[in-house]
Amino acid sequence: MLRRVLIANRGEIAVRIARACHAEGLEAVLAVSDADRGSLGAQLADRAICIGPAPATESYLDIDRLLAAATVTGCDALHPGYGFVSERPELPEACAEAGVTFVGPSAAAMRRSGDKATARAAARALGIPIGDGSDLLASAREAREVADQLGYPVLLKAAAGGGGRGMRRVQGPGEMPAVFTAAAAEAQQAFGDGRLFMERFVTSARHVEVQVLADGQGKVIHLGHRDCTLQRRYQKLVEEAPADGLAPGIGDDVLDAATRLIGSMDYQGAATCEFLVDAERATSAFLEINARLQVEHPVSEMVTGVDVVREQLRIAGGAPLSVTQADVAPAGHAIEARINAESPSRGFMPAPGTLERWVQPSGPGVRVDTACFPGWTITPYYDSLLAKVIVHARDRLEALERLRGALGDLHVAGVPTTAGFVMDVLAHPDVRSGRVHTRWLEETFVPSWSPRVAA
């Protein structure tokens, strides 16, 4: 059993984890940067300890400082949250060295699952479709050979990373050398690893993913699937559970594939398996594994009633999962909208500032995960996420309507927000009918969108 958990993160997820710790009867210690001493997480944790100055490189990205914070405060476990160092295998390694339980997979399992090329190979070995594409590409020449066989356009992707960095579309053979070099350089800079592989570019793709929990003792269950097709520059904007309107068999296929794949990896903790669903061909292809908690985990919680963060803590403490697969019966429909401190009319430029006003929605089927409160200052050091507004309703249309209502009851002054933009997205006929793909926001919606006057 664990006793005291260091939360190596900030913002809404630090609040979320602190509350889950308390629900599990654990003490929560929050590592904060100098800029976050007064944060909501620091207020809610049993203790906050300042680890370094505001820049993340000297605070939330510094594994040594995080471990020092854990050890000097007597923590016996560390929860990495998402982002920052949560996907760096050096973190579970450092935890193991310091005798601190890492809330997540072992470094080895993180490497197995986190590397895209390795994970693709593992999926292929299990007979899970991985989509047309390549293994690691040695050179631009090899890339062109593979692409000639697949047919253009193709997508170059970084083996090590995510978030769109190192990812480039190649329209034809002529541009392959230049794009290959650029993508490899970008991947090298972002992840310290310039290796690339290739996928066929899917014209009308949906992003579908499966939330998996593995207890590290052989038990692996899923919490159903999610749809995260609404993205802008590879950043998810709106996430749903379940993924409605999949072609027959696809939903069961990805659930089965995800549990088998994670089950093959000696994995412990929460993981997400991402799939690309080709709406035209009615096929699914495994994309990658996220070996950590994800921003959009609440939608799975809403439809299943399972608290993912508490299960993470239970697993790390050696307890069995509190649910069996048979207990998991997703009910209704949940949608999450990420609301950022950004100005949609200025190219979504992040806009730090002090929250002169912060009134969040509430009511039946409404949940807000946030670290905001009136008077809190959004600093420029970190991402611009203000809140995740999550709703649960009986079906998708009711959930869409409820989410729009909830966003209308979000009152913010002091920083611009993307709430109005998201409300417009939710009202669009293509979204209501589910006829969107992963580039719909950028290619169809954003170009035609203009902010309403006096919102």
């Binding site: 100055p53 605070s59 310091a98």
Partner: protein
């Protein structure tokens, strides 16, 4: 901390070399530890005898016991009164050490003269030793953390009365 020191104790390391900025720190130890777990304090260049726990001044507040979680959001020095003068703060979370090694005399005491750039303490971050140096020349008027104590980033460690 207990876990860290246990891991350290249980390791079979005899020497440790740490690079900080341009400084190179080297620790070597012989024999087994005893008593309260010894701080893994460094020693510039060269092998030194095994640390004697009681030599670390002051001997109170063993660093190795898990400090009880306090509701107070630390961040500052809490209730400690800070005298006027130039404040030298912790560059990171970590453990505060007054001496280069447990057996050695402290870098400074209250009343010690210090020169700008001189080391007044060490903050240890997972075996990485950060020298904390005086930004001005003057006289030490306060040492506000105890040897082996956990400190936070920004916490005032030492106060120096700058020379006029």
């Amino acid at each position: 901390m207990k876990a860290l020191l246990q891991a350290f104790d249980q390791s079979d390391w005899q020497e440790m070399t740490v690079m900080i900025g341009g400084d190179r720190l080297h620790v070597s130890r012989l024999g087994s530890s005893d008593g309260p777990p010894p701080p893994s304090a460094p020693q510039p260049a060269g092998a030194v005898p095994p640390p004697a726990p009681e030599a670390a001044p002051p001997p109170s507040a063993p660093a190795a016991s898990a400090p009880p979680v306090s509701a107070a959001s630390a961040g500052s020095n809490g209730a400690i009164e800070i005298p006027p003068g130039t404040q030298i703060t912790a560059p990171s979370v970590g453990l505060f050490w007054r001496a280069p090694s447990p057996g050695a005399p402290p870098f400074v005491e209250v009343g010690s003269p210090v020169a700008a750039g001189e080391t007044v303490a060490i903050v240890e971050v997972m075996k990485l030793m950060s020298h904390v140096t005086a930004p001005v020349s003057g006289t030490v008027s306060a040492v506000l953390a105890e040897n082996g104590q956990a400190v936070e980033f920004g916490q005032v460690l030492v106060v120096v009365d700058a020379e006029a």
